[in-house]
Subunit: 269 residues, 3 copies
């Protein structure tokens, strides 16, 4: 029995996809509480979903974590339930979506979601969230046995995503934009070690070189340490380095997308 | 007493309209669980709302189904509660919004929402969801008698929407786009019988003729049966035929809107 | 103990910001019910958030009202809990966001959220909703003492927002657009007294003069009193005067934004 199902998808909220899954869950498990993490993952953006799931899970109560970004629906990708050492269960497709979050603890056991008793039959070709994943999550919440979901899988066989690694030089680092949020902040694949390796600490001036344009910016703790309109490089609230504009929108200025590269150069003059 | 209120509107989530209705419900019925189906129906798109309500209701637990897409608010359109043979109650405006869903079961009884005891007085001219529909749904959930809501209405007098019928020939069918979802998939007014009538089965090549352009496509079970970028005609997870692009967005390619016609032609060469 | 936390932010629903706060709340207070008012306030639009909070609170059950639109996060703006005479508690930043709602009742007591026991340590520089505001709201809901949150503050020292006042002449009033909603309706800083002061009552023709263009409109109770496509000036469901187009979108026609001025002129000919 789990009191919570957290729920993350790329379904958006324009259609009834997330709502229908909520209904499916409630028909099976009346008392479970559903916590929507987000349904705003870009369509089929598995890596973005995997990153957002991993960073949000530490703030969630222990329960079943249902996540669906599933471009391979209807094909031969497997449907998974993963139990981790911290007592959580992850439910979703075997495309890497769950693995940053699951590997942050430790994968204890994996089952394929093949038991028809925990599916909505007949299973559609294109909406496994409704027909396989949400029912499995709800049955787990209601006390179904993890071992009863389907055959056991070897954790080593699960699909995992490789993130781009930054290239760290002596005075510059080449980073990749991993995600862009509502405020236009650009999340990079940089941790504090990468930034400190080229001598960047709060107060240092830097140059940000995108494909088409470059910009001056400052390393700062937070927005209010800069002037309105100024670009800053800062450690965001999840410990990843990001680019933002104080009182502005860095995406609009830079036209950067997830996947773009940016070279960060310490200005020493 | 009903444990659930499902909730579908065209309010969007940018404003407080849906949130205020949630508050109104909770002030009346503390224990009811609200299941948001969607608030993303296009503004005043009654037919789209009616279609989405009808297809999602079978996945919802039995309860009160609150739905508001209401361009006639403040005029003389009636406010309704409809009890159906499967034990559900639908609450919303008398403009057809509720009727695909209600008629899918069987309308047992209808009441006009005229009892001031179940309204928020003074009732505004423009926000009956807050002042009439949500209070009625919440009072029903809390045990108010259906018969006490207002005077009885004849089910035959309710406004119903006529959907466009496809024109089925021997080698072609003229269909209408009923809705476009977040993924850019175009839902058509076609069931399997129409598609099979012109000999289309998975694997068959077709031509899709829109007003300005035509495209080659393939009939398929699902996305992974096609090549990335290929157009497909498939039976969606609710049993309606739809047009999609594998790993793409068919709306962006075709620029199609709800209401547009498309001729589907079997290619025999 | 409070059974409800209402929740209003500018976080949008594209990212996990609102979802993470939900998780934080549930880890602290399993039984509290979260009522999302909206997360669609425009980024950093404190005044818009303050107006929407104030108009929605009367429809919410008594509880903790969590609101975060916080451009000054990480600086020296204070974090607040405010208890009002109607038994509600408001939690959010000291930037005016809470004050239209709090002052609508009467501020009884204010505390700064400085007690580390009710924070998520280490507190980030940029996400106080997660680390300070949501935890405080959840602890209050679970029975934490208001007095234990931090030191007492003088209500007179809180930041308050001044709204633009309309300029009321004998035949014209100069108003300001306060907000634009999903339907494209333009909410003005006009109450009935301002409109009646220049002799406007339902049925009267007016001219609406924006910076670039002017339009004819009619004063009306509601949309259905006008012809499709006609502009109307009407008292909205919260008692504020607004400009709309019957079966249309007044924002698209007028290109008006929050902050724009419009002169309303009674047509007497």
């Amino acid at each position: 029995m789990y009191p919570y199902i957290t729920f993350l998808t790329d379904f958006g909220l324009q259609d009834d996809f997330a709502g229908v899954c909520r209904g499916v869950i409630k028909r099976i498990s009346r008392d479970v509480q559903i916590i929507d993490i987000t349904h705003g993952i870009a369509p089929q953006a598995v890596t973005q979903g995997a990153l957002m799931l991993a960073r949000s899970i530490p703030y969630m109560p222990v329960g079943v974590n249902l996540a669906v970004v599933d471009p391979g629906v209807g094909g031969d990708r497997r449907a998974l339930a993963i139990r981790t050492a911290d007592g959580r269960i992850f439910v979703g497709p075997d495309n890497g979506l769950l693995m940053f979050a699951a590997d942050a603890s430790e994968v204890e056991a994996v089952r394929a979601l093949t038991n028809p008793r925990y599916r909505l039959e007949p299973v559609s070709h294109t909406f496994h969230a409704r027909d396989i994943f949400a029912p499995a999550a709800a049955h787990l919440a209601s006390g179904a046995s993890f071992e009863d979901l389907g055959e056991e899988l070897d954790p080593a066989t699960l699909v995992r995503i490789e993130l781009p690694e930054p290239t760290v030089g002596t005075t510059r680092v080449v980073a990749t934009v991993l995600a862009v949020d509502r405020f236009g902040n650009l999340q990079l694949n940089l941790a504090r070690e990468h930034v400190e390796a080229i001598g960047l600490t709060p107060g240092v001036d830097v140059e940000l070189i995108f494909a088409a344009y470059s910009y001056f910016a400052v390393v700062a703790h937070t927005f209010v340490d800069t002037r309105p309109g100024e670009l800053l490089l800062y450690e965001d609230s999840y410990g990843a380095y990001s680019i933002a504009i104080s009182s502005g929108d860095a995406r609009k200025l830079t036209a950067a997308f997830a996947g773009d590269e940016v070279t960060i150069l310490a200005r020493r003059d």
